[in-house]
């Protein structure tokens, strides 16, 4: 008999089974439910009638400040007021209000998820928390049911193991590596699969940088993007987790649908070109492309190290006169750390615009819309058509490369500025 993957073991534990195998449908208990805009869900509760409270008010987390740091319209202001009121009505205890930050960074920072837990969320990037060994998976309508039952169905996925070895060259970041992996796997290369990451390169990264890998698995069609708990995870969880936990580890003889071994040592800076996050190319292929907006932030670029990388390029330089550089810290804690380290001054004196923490101009629904015909480069996760005005283009790259394009006015190798 062969052993089980991390994903299988967590699903077995959460569904009260001894073991589970790919293809099986299980109903698992949920330890955390994340939502940023549950207005529709509450309206549906009203239509259904008879709903009194959520299953456990401590396990439902609503981050109304995820998409907008302040309401950008009357309609949005009214929506948020409604959500605040309804959270109280149904006994939801954790509401992160406007200006507090990007929900995915908050879920980790505030200890709402832990190793071995099961988390679901009504945002497609809920795969993010796999970076601490939590089985985290997105779903949407069904979260209404999860809110009441505390349970969700899962089809036990086959698992793709990605092993990352070696040391990256200077100027190559975790985003470049994650972008490279996404390019190899493709937009549907992990459809209905779990992806598990490991390897010496990965184990040297911080939790916020590991989160980039977990989060981007949703762009491969995956159900979750998992990593084993290690010393880095345990140090991060210290004093943070809202519940005592027991990490789950994979069996040494676990069975994988596929194993991908990648040596990152020779990797050059990467870039995703329109119109798919998975269309990865060497950055050099897109060099010379003029940009009008550059954006450092979002749920794959709002961590403190992302800010440090961008600041390293910007220090003592100016944003190109025909470019807007928008910097969006992931959370208030990231913002405070930026102030302590003098990064805020680096950005403002370079002519960049820093907004309060939120998810950033990735979906063009708060501030930072692109004008017709404009091109943006950013550290955010997604560049699909329809996201901005019809006649626009979005490129995705590392904080180094994004800042470098802001300086040069065009996509360029960031290493000349390091």
């Amino acid at each position: 008999m062969s052993g089980h993957t991390l994903t299988e073991k967590i699903l077995a534990k959460a569904s009260g089974k001894k073991e589970v195998s790919p293809g099986e449908i299980v109903i698992a208990r949920v330890d955390a439910l994340f939502m940023h805009s549950p207005r529709y869900k509450f309206k549906h509760f009203e239509k259904i009638g008879g709903v009194k409270s959520v299953w456990d008010g401590d396990k439902v987390i609503v981050a109304v400040g995820h998409h907008q740091f302040l309401p950008s319209s009357q309609e949005y202001a009214d929506a948020v007021t409604f959500v605040r009121k309804e959270c109280k009505r149904y006994g939801i205890k954790h509401l992160y209000d406007m200006g507090t930050g990007n929900g995915h960074y908050l879920m980790l920072e505030k200890g709402h998820v832990w190793p071995g837990a099961v988390a679901v969320g009504s945002d497609s990037h809920t795969t993010a928390y796999g970076c601490i060994g939590c089985l985290a998976s997105p779903m949407n309508f069904e979260t209404s049911e999860v809110m009441l039952s505390g349970k969700a169905w899962f089809k036990v996925p086959p698992t793709l193991l990605v092993k990352l070895e070696g040391t990256v060259k200077r100027g190559v970041s975790a985003r470049d590596v994650a972008q490279h992996v996404l390019g190899i796997v493709g937009a549907d290369g992990a459809l209905w699969h779990a992806v598990e990451f490991d390897g010496a390169y990965l184990r040297r990264l911080s939790i916020q940088q590991r989160m980039i890998f977990s989060l981007l698995t949703t762009e491969m069609g995956a159900m979750c993007g998992m990593m084993e708990t290690d010393a880095v995870t345990l140090a991060y969880m210290e004093g943070r987790s809202r519940q005592p936990f027991e990490p789950v580890y994979r069996d040494t003889d676990a069975r994988y649908a596929k194993v991908l071994e990648i040596d990152v040592s020779e990797l050059e800076p990467q870039i995703a070109v329109p119109p798919q996050p998975s269309y990865t190319k060497p950055l050099a292929d897109a060099a010379g492309k003029k940009v009008q907006q550059a954006y450092v932030g979002g749920c794959t670029g709002g961590g403190i190290e992302d800010m440090r990388m961008a600041a390293e390029v910007m220090r003592g330089r100016k944003v190109h006169p025909e470019v807007r550089l928008i910097v969006v810290p992931g959370t208030v804690a990231v913002f405070e750390q930026m102030m302590k380290e003098g990064l805020v001054e680096v950005f403002t004196s370079a002519g960049a615009l820093i907004t309060p923490p939120y998810c950033g101009p990735c979906q063009m629904i708060c501030v930072g819309h692109l004008g017709e015909g404009e091109t943006m480069i950013g550290t955010h996760p997604r560049n699909l058509p329809g996201r901005a005005a019809a006649d626009t283009e979005i490129y995705l790259a590392s904080p180094y490369s994004t800042a470098a394009a802001a300086v040069a006015g065009e996509i360029t190798d960031p290493r000349q500025y390091l």
């Binding site: 449908i25 209404s144 979906q363 996201r387």
Partner: protein, 170 residues
């Protein structure tokens, strides 16, 4: 689930129809009636004029990839789409459609079997689901929808199922 037949005219789309295409961020908060006028416009202008209630959407690979915004599924009910069939369907879109009560099927090869305007007949049997091009022939089949999800579909979506359960005091 008792045998059920869904029959409709095919509206054909390509590979990787993502949720930003189905529900553009700029329009999705304006209400479903406004969104109806803009759905798919990035790949097919005036799409709403081409679809009639009862039509079946046929897509290629990874239908519904991208974010799982609610309007991208809700708009299908507004347009009156009877079913969605694609070579492969994104996991989130699949879950959402079932939860919303919209029959959705991943059937490798369907995009090669039917063309725009042809008639597709879907027979939901207990053992297999079959897909037949009644205009010029051709048939494919797939495994039935698993029981957990079939129950949701039968109830007409997760909200109706919740209502039933609350009424039964569970």
């Amino acid at each position: 689930m008792a045998e059920r037949i869904i029959k409709g005219k095919v509206v054909k789309l390509g590979d990787y129809v993502n949720t930003d295409v189905i529900s553009p961020g700029r329009w999705m908060r304006e209400g479903l009636e406004v969104l109806r006028l803009h759905t798919m416009e990035a790949i097919r202008p005036d799409f709403y004029k081409d679809v009639q209630p009862g039509d079946i959407l046929v897509g290629g690979r990874n239908f519904g990839c991208g974010s799982h915004r609610e309007p991208a599924t809700a708009i299908m009910e507004v347009l009156g789409i009877a079913a969605i069939v694609a070579d492969s369907v994104a996991r989130l879109y699949y879950r959402n459609a079932i939860a919303f009560g919209i029959p959705v099927f991943a059937v490798e090869g369907i995009s090669r079997m039917v063309e725009e305007g042809e008639e597709l007949e879907i027979t939901l049997g207990a053992e297999r689901v079959t897909f037949r091009n009644t205009t010029r022939g051709g048939e494919l089949s797939a495994l039935p929808i698993p029981e957990t999800m079939a129950k949701v579909l039968e109830a007409g979506g997760v909200y109706k199922l919740l209502k039933q359960r609350l009424a039964e005091g569970i």
